[in-house]
Amino acid sequence: MTRNKDTISRFHDRYSLPVTDAALAVEKEVIGANVGASGYTTVAQANALIPELRLRPGTLLLDVGAGRGWPGLYLAQETGCRVVLADIPAPGLATAVKRAREGRISDRASFVRAAAEHLPFLSGVFDAVVHTDTM
C-alpha cells in the first residue's frame, strides 16, 4: 500500500469512529472546537483565516481535505460565506453533512468526494481556497 493510500485508509477508519463525549471534551480542551476534528488548527487559527481569505457573505470558499468539516463549516458559519468541502473519506464528509444540517447552513454548504490532486471544478470559480495540513 502506498503512503498516500495508507493515509486515506487511516483517515477513513478514524472518521468511521463515533464521535464520543470523551473525544469532544478532548477536542474542546485542545483546539477549542467540538466538531470531531483531530488536527492542529485551533479556533484562534481558524479565526485568523477570515481576514486573510477576505471571507464575507456570498464569498465562495473551497476547503480541500475537509475531513469532518473543520474549519470549512466553521468559517461559513462565522462569515456567511458559501463553502464547498472536498475530501476522499466518505465517513468524514457524512459527518460534515450532518453538522451543516445541525448548524442550519446546508443551503450554503456543498460536499464533493474528490482528491486534492483531481478537483472536479471549473477554473476560476472560487474566491478563496483553504486547507489545513493536507500537504
Binding site: 463525549d21 478532548v26 485542545v30 490532486e117 477554473s123 474566491d127 481556497v129 483553504v130 489545513t132
Partner: protein, 127 residues
C-alpha cells in the same frame, strides 16, 4: 496541488493554508527522523512553501510561523487524551489509542528538536 488551487481561484482570489513541513538544511538522518515523526502528509523538503507558491504563479506570498503553537497543541492532544485514556481506548481500540499517543509523543520531540515546523501561508492569484 498549489497549481490546482491557482486554477480554481478567480483573479485576485486567495489561498491560505496551514502546513507542517520539514525545514531545509537537515541531514539525511534528520530528515528521515522528521518524516517518521510527522503526520503522514508531511513530505515537503528543500524548497520552502513560499517558493512553491511563487513558482505556481501566486503573488503577495506571506508566511506566519506557528511552530510554537503546533508544539503546544501536540502536547495538549497527548496530555488531554491521556486523561481520557479509558474511554478513548474503548472507542478507538487499545492498539490504535496507544499508537496515536506514541505518534504525538514522537512528534512533540521532533518539533522540540527543530525537525518539524508549521506555518500559515497566504497568497493571491494575480488579477
Amino acid at each position: 496541488m498549489l497549481r490546482a488551487c491557482k486554477r480554481l481561484l478567480r483573479p485576485a482570489g486567495r489561498v491560505a493554508f496551514y502546513t507542517i513541513f520539514v525545514p531545509s538544511g537537515l541531514s539525511q538522518a534528520e530528515y528521515r527522523r522528521a518524516a517518521r515523526a510527522g503526520p503522514a502528509a508531511v513530505t515537503s523538503r528543500g524548497r520552502e512553501q513560499a517558493d512553491l507558491l511563487r513558482s505556481a504563479g501566486f503573488t503577495g506570498v506571506s508566511e506566519i510561523d506557528v511552530t510554537e503553537a503546533f508544539l503546544r497543541t501536540t502536547r495538549a492532544w497527548y496530555e488531554a487524551r491521556a486523561r481520557y485514556a479509558g474511554q478513548l481506548s474503548e472507542a478507538e481500540g487499545e492498539a490504535s489509542f496507544r499508537e496515536r499517543q506514541r505518534d504525538y509523543r514522537l512528534q512533540a520531540q521532533a518539533i522540540e528538536s527543530g525537525l518539524l515546523r508549521r506555518a500559515l501561508f497566504v497568497a493571491e492569484r494575480p488579477r
